[in-house]
């Protein structure tokens, strides 16, 4: 059965800290891995990763995929209180539908 596991489930840090969120997966015929940020509104897209070893960056956020070891990490440097959210990792397996299989999410709280 296809599965996505995120760790840690929750994390509390102080502003300025760097955090690393983990996502491991077991899927048949992997196609892509996506990261979303979910606040009390629509989950917003962060990154889509399809190739191993190529880091994607957007400001203080970056992510990388390891298709051999079947995991991805999401790094946030110099955290701010506005980074407080649930971070969701999702995997698309090769199928006709493109449906996403989500992990449980990591709840990040950044304290001032």
């Amino acid at each position: 059965e296809d599965k996505v596991v995120q760790s840690p489930l929750s994390l509390v840090v102080h502003e300025g800290d760097t955090v690393t969120l983990n996502c491991s997966y077991e899927v048949t015929n992997f196609r892509s891995l996506l990261w979303y940020k979910q606040e009390k509104k629509a989950p917003t897209f962060l990154f889509m990763l399809t190739s191993s070893g190529i880091e994607k960056k957007s400001g203080r956020l970056s992510s990388i995929l390891d298709k051999k070891e079947l995991f991805s990490i999401l790094n946030i440097t110099a955290t701010q209180t506005g980074d407080s959210a649930i971070y969701l990792c999702a995997v698309e397996a090769a199928s006709n539908t493109g449906k996403l299989i989500f992990g449980q999410g990591t709840t990040l709280q950044v304290k001032p």
Partner: protein, 114 residues
């Protein structure tokens, strides 16, 4: 529109009532997905449309759940005879085309069944 729009944002239903949840996808997006997100969990796939065709409904938890997208744009998720276990956030997402395209999500409808 600018993004995926869902209505209502909140819905309270008595057990046994029928509910209808609406999703307006991004204009021009061919693919539309419904997900169910229980408290403290990640979203779980319910069903997928490509235009008006429902190509995958493998995630619908029971025959009380029904979705449609008759003109290939707006979609409605209907839940008949709601049960307490149906309480969740129902998220809609759309993408330009299905596989390997970014799905953009709406804010969801939070359904509470009393």
């Amino acid at each position: 529109g600018a993004g995926v729009s869902q209505s209502p944002r909140y819905k309270v239903a008595k057990r046994g009532q029928d509910v209808a949840l609406r999703c307006d996808p991004i204009s021009g997006h061919v693919s539309l997905f419904w997900y169910q997100q229980a408290l403290g969990q990640g979203p779980e796939f319910l069903t997928y449309f490509q235009n008006e065709a429902q190509l995958d409904k493998s995630g619908l938890p029971s025959d009380r759940f029904f979705a449609e997208r008759p003109e290939g744009s707006v979609s409605t998720l209907k839940i008949q005879r709601t049960q307490q276990e149906d309480s969740a956030v129902y998220l809609c997402a759309s993408s330009f085309q299905g596989p390997k395209n970014i799905q953009y999500f709406g804010a969801g409808t939070r359904l509470s069944v009393l």
